[in-house]
Amino acid sequence: MYEFEFVKPGSVADAVTALGEEDAQVLGGGQTLIPTLKQRLASPGKLVSLAGIAEMQGVSTDDAGRICVGGGTVHADVAANAGGYPALAGLAGNIGDPAVRARGTIGGSLANNDPSACYPAAALASGASIVTNAREIAADDYFQGMFTTALDEGEIITEVKFPVPEAANYQKFEQPASRFALVGVFVAKYADGVRVAVTGASQEGVFRWRAAEAALSADFSADAVPEAPAADGMISDLHGTAAYRAHLVAVLTRRAVAACG
C-alpha cells in the first residue's frame, strides 16, 4: 500500500468536510478497499473512516414501516437485526464469511456497486431509497452500471430505506472461491407488483428483469417465470459463460418464487 493519512470523524458533517480535500477517499468496512489498496490500484492521500459515526449505525423501522439501515451498519448486524425483512436479513447473513460480515458495511457495498455483490440486488428489487448526506436517491436511479452509481465525489450513504414486501426471497449461486454471487436473484412481491433484480450476471451490473416482473405480477408462481433472458451482455469468464449465467437467471428466479411459498 502507498502511505495515506487516516482520519475517523465522529459526525457526517465532519466526514463530508474531510472528504472535500483532494485525494480523500471514504473507508467503510474496508473489505474491498483495503485489498484494492494493497494491490496499489488506488492511492488516496487520506482515508476517511465512517466507523466512528454513531448516527450511521443500526437497523430501525420508520413510520412508513420501512426497514432503515444506517450506511455504516455491518452485514452481521443487518443479519441479526433486520428480522422485519427476513429476505434482507438472510442476504446479509450469507455475504462472504463471518469475519467479512463483521466488517463490511451496506453503504460500502452499495457505493462500490460490484457487479457480483449481493446488496445491490436487495436494494433494486425492494425499490429502496438510498439516503446520502445531500439527498435521497431511488434505487432505480442509483445503479448506473458496473462500479458506477449516482453518487457524487465525496457523497456518503448515510441510510438505506427498504419498503417491506409481502413476500421476498434471494437466491445466490455462489462462486465457491470468492463467495460472491456468480448469479444472484432477488424477488420481491409488493401490492402494486413484483420486482426482480439480478446481480452477478450482466456487464452493466445489477438490473431488473422486466419480463419476469410482468409475468410474475400477473401470476406469482414459479411456472410463470419466462425462459432465460438473452445471453447478450452477460458476463463471461472462467467461472461461467454468458449463456450459463443467463440460464442461471431463470433457474434462480424460479427457485426464489418457489421459496416465497
Partner: protein
Amino acid sequence: MSQVTMTVNGKEMSGDAEGRTLLSQFLRDTLGLTGTHVGCDTSQCGACVVHVNGQPVKSCTMLAMEAEGADVATIEGQAAPDGTLNTIQQAFQDHHGLQCGFCTPGMVMSAAALLKENPKPSEAEIRDYLEGNICRCTGYHNIVKAILAASGQDVGSIAAE
C-alpha cells in the same frame, strides 16, 4: 507515524503505526504477537482472524488505526497464563485438528466466535461458519470434530469421509 493504543488480551498496549499499517502487522511486528498468522494477505484464508470488540475479523484486512481503543483478542490470550490450553485448543489437540498448524490460530479464533454465538452448533453450521478459514493440509474433518467436541457434543456421529 502516530501512536495507536488498544487493549490486547486484556492488557493495554501501544505502538507506532502508519495509516497503512494493517492490524496484523501491528500485532506481529510492533507488539511481537506472532501467533496471529498471515497466510494469503488477501482476506481469503482466515489465518489472521482475531476478535475486535468480540467480533471475528481478518486482521490483514483492517487497519491498525481502525482498532484504536478497541478490545482485541488474539490466540496468545486463549490459553491460561500457566500454559493450560483452553477447551477449544485442548479439543484441537485431542482430535488432531491440525497438521502443519499454520491455519490453527485463525481456526481457533473463528471457533471461539462461533461457540460464543451458537454454543451447540451442528456439523453443518460449523462447516458453514468456517467458510472463511482455509486449511491447506485439508484437515477440515478433524477441525470440525474438535469444535463439536469443544461444544460438549458427541463426535462419534461424524463418519470419516
